[in-house]
Structures are given as structure tokens and as C-alpha cells.
């Protein structure tokens, strides 16, 4: 008991001392600024013309920063005006990495190209590149989720869109409009056969009229030399890449049953690979996507939802479609 009393008394004394210190500090504090103001006023009166009063000086000081802000705004504007591509005729190949990469290795050619980008676009490109390595493919949806996943949360949607458009104008990113609200992107990464699997070639959009194009017009021959897939073929390839596309033509035969088993196993594997938390996020995205694309009635219809969800997983986890799987089986 005695010990407890002693501890109690000691605590009381400490608290009292502390409070006294605070009270003293508060008493001293207001004195200091007054003294400073007086000193400043005296020195100003001594140095400057006697007409000058304190109030106008303060006003002048407040007015000064405004023209500086205007200058900053003027500086920022011209950056957005004209963007010339830093690389022409790059081939945008949709690919997936064969396996997870250990580090982030930027090929020398690509590094040479992106070092010409302005800071923000450079940062965005590198973030997208890291994201591509992480998700093992260089394409996906462009939007708020991507913005969040690459750590550009602080940007507004408009700013992020602008970054995307700028990167596209520089010729290092391809944005494709699926619907009014949905876009996909393909990031330019030099194709490497050893580490990547080619999925399809993305179509280049019609070139903007403002860009100077005399050099481009002279180069149709090398383009034609490349084995270009026929337009129809390309379209089907493109359609296959759209996540959530309903798989058609799945007959109810033995082959299809074994395909279902294969898909089930692949989804389980993917679940293990990405981890529970990420899988939950993917599921959340799938739900939002299905609601947006097919409507709420599909979402609330259990069977249809399962079908669309499976198709979403097939796309998201790069599981071969029924046709491709059949072909690979021979």
C-alpha cells in the first residue's frame, strides 16, 4: 500500500510540474510575437520612408504571389499542345509472359525510347510496365481500377485519361474503345520470343491528321512484308481477348465435359497463384463488369451469372478458350 501511495504521489508531482510548465510557456508565448512586431516596425521605420505604414506593407506582400501563380499556369499550358511521336510504326503485340519475372528489366531499346518522355508520362509508362510484369500480360482494361492498381490514385480520372492519351500520342501505348465507358490498353514492349507468348497483334488507330506524315507515307513496303493476319482473323483474335466474352459453340459432348474439368482446375490453380485477397478483387471486378455489360438481370440470375463469371475467369487468367483448347489437343 505504501509503495502504491508513493507512486501516486510521485505521479501527482510530475503532472503538477508539467502543467505549471505549460502554463508558464503559454504566458510567455504571446509576449514574443508582440516584441518581434515592435522590433520589426522600428527597423522598418528607421530604414524606409516615414510615409509607409504597416498595413500597406502587408497588403503589398499578399498581392505579390498572385502574378507568380499566373506565370506557373502559363508555363504548364504549352506542354499539352503538341505531342510528336517518339517512335513510329511500332508493332503492338498482345502477349503474355511465359513465367513470372524475377525483377523489372527494361530492354535497352525501350529504355532509350522512354527516356525521352516527360516525367509524368515516364512514370506512368514505368508503372504500367511493372504492372504488365506483375499480371504477366501487356494489355488489359484502362480505367479507374488500373489507375488504382498502378498506384496513381491521387490523379483524377481526367488526368489519368490525359496521361494515357499523351502516351498514345508518343506512340508507346495503344488505347482501344470497347464501349462508351470501357477502354482497353496495349502497352508497347519489344517482343521477346524466349520469355513471351504472342497472343495477337493490336490494330493501330488511324493516324492523327495533325502529325507530320511524309516519312510514314514512304514506308508501306516493310509493313506489307510482315505477315499480317487478315482483317477477319484479326477481329476474331481481338474478340477473343475481350474479358467476359461469352464462349459460343460449346457442344454438350465428352470433349466439352473434359474442357469444363480443365477450366475448373485452371481456375483453382489461378486462385492459388494470385492469392485469396487478389482473387476476391478479381471477383469484385467480374461482378461489376458483368453488371455493366450484361445488366443486372444477368447478375441476379444464378446460372447465367455462373456462365459469365466462368468466361470472365477464362479471360482474366488466360485460360485457353474451348476452340483453342480443342486445337491444342489435336
Amino acid at each position: 500500500m505504501g509503495l502504491i501511495k508513493n507512486i501516486g504521489n510521485a505521479v501527482k508531482n510530475e503532472v503538477r510540474d508539467y502543467l505549471l510548465k505549460i502554463v508558464e510557456a503559454e504566458k510567455e508565448a504571446p509576449k514574443q510575437p508582440e516584441e518581434n512586431v515592435q522590433k520589426n516596425a522600428e527597423t522598418k521605420v528607421e530604414k524606409s520612408v516615414p510615409k509607409v505604414e504597416e498595413a500597406p506593407i502587408i497588403k503589398d506582400e499578399k498581392v505579390q504571389p498572385e502574378p507568380v501563380e499566373e506565370v506557373e499556369e502559363v508555363r504548364e499550358k504549352p506542354r499539352k499542345k503538341e505531342i510528336y511521336p517518339i517512335a513510329n510504326d511500332l508493332e503492338f503485340i498482345r502477349f503474355s509472359y511465359k513465367k513470372n519475372q524475377d525483377g523489372v528489366m527494361i530492354p535497352k531499346d525501350l529504355a532509350e525510347l522512354i527516356k525521352m518522355l516527360p516525367l509524368e508520362e515516364y512514370a506512368c509508362f514505368v508503372k504500367l510496365y511493372c504492372f504488365a510484369l506483375e499480371q504477366r500480360k501487356n494489355y488489359g482494361y484502362w480505367g479507374g481500377t488500373l489507375k488504382r492498381r498502378i498506384g496513381l490514385d491521387q490523379l483524377t480520372t481526367a488526368e489519368f485519361e490525359e496521361l494515357g492519351n499523351n502516351l498514345m500520342a508518343y506512340g508507346l501505348l495503344l488505347l482501344e474503345k470497347l464501349t462508351e465507358n470501357q477502354k482497353t490498353f496495349v502497352l508497347y514492349v519489344p517482343f521477346d520470343e524466349d520469355t513471351m507468348v504472342k497472343l495477337s497483334t493490336a490494330k493501330q488507330p488511324a493516324k492523327q491528321p495533325e502529325k507530320p506524315a511524309p516519312k510514314k507515307a514512304e514506308k508501306p513496303a516493310p509493313k506489307a512484308a510482315k505477315p499480317k493476319p487478315e482483317p477477319e482473323e484479326e477481329e476474331t483474335q481481338h474478340a477473343e481477348d475481350i474479358p467476359g466474352k461469352p464462349v459460343e459453340g460449346m457442344e454438350n459432348d465428352e470433349m466439352y465435359k473434359s474442357y469444363k474439368t480443365f477450366v475448373s482446375l485452371e481456375i483453382d490453380k489461378a486462385k492459388m497463384r494470385v492469392g485469396r485477397a487478389n482473387f476476391d478483387k478479381i471477383y469484385m471486378e467480374a461482378v461489376k463488369y458483368i453488371d455493366k455489360k450484361y445488366g443486372f438481370k444477368v447478375l441476379s440470375d444464378s446460372d447465367k451469372f455462373k456462365e459469365y463469371l466462368t468466361n470472365y475467369y477464362i479471360s482474366a487468367f488466360d485460360i485457353p478458350t474451348f476452340e483453342n483448347w480443342k486445337k491444342s489437343k489435336g
Binding site: 471486378e285 461482378v287 461489376k288 443486372f296 447478375l299 444464378s302 455462373k306
Partner: protein, 82 residues
Amino acid sequence: MLNDIKILMKSLSDIDVRIMLCKSAFEWELLAKKYNALRDEIEAFCASGLPEDVSSALDKTRASLVQKKGELPPLDLSDFFK
């Protein structure tokens, strides 16, 4: 008419509350069915066109339903593959 729409809106806000308390896919499906039925009822009631506030309330409930479905544990697809 005003009373009727108030009753319908009350049912909608009841669904909103129950969405917050919903913890299973089964409950969610019941709520989704209720929402669909209510939406049809409201649309039939306001055949000349949905008032803006009613329309936004319906959209809000739909958004919360979608959000809740995404937050619930992912749907088990094992039955689907059998």
C-alpha cells in the same frame, strides 16, 4: 398517387437497409429478386417516365447490390463444372 410512390420508395429503402445487413449469397439473391420486382412495379406505376429522384434511388440501390455481391465470398463454381 403520391402516397403510392412513397410506399414504393419505402420498400426500396428497406432493401437498402437489408443490403447492408446481407451476409450470404442466398440472402443477396432474395434481395436482388425483390429489387427486380420492385423496379418493375415502379416502372409500371410511372409509365409516363420515372421521376429523376426515383430513378437515382433505383440506380443507387442497384449499385449497392452490385457492390455487396462483389464483397461477398466469390461464388463457388464447382457445381457448374459438374
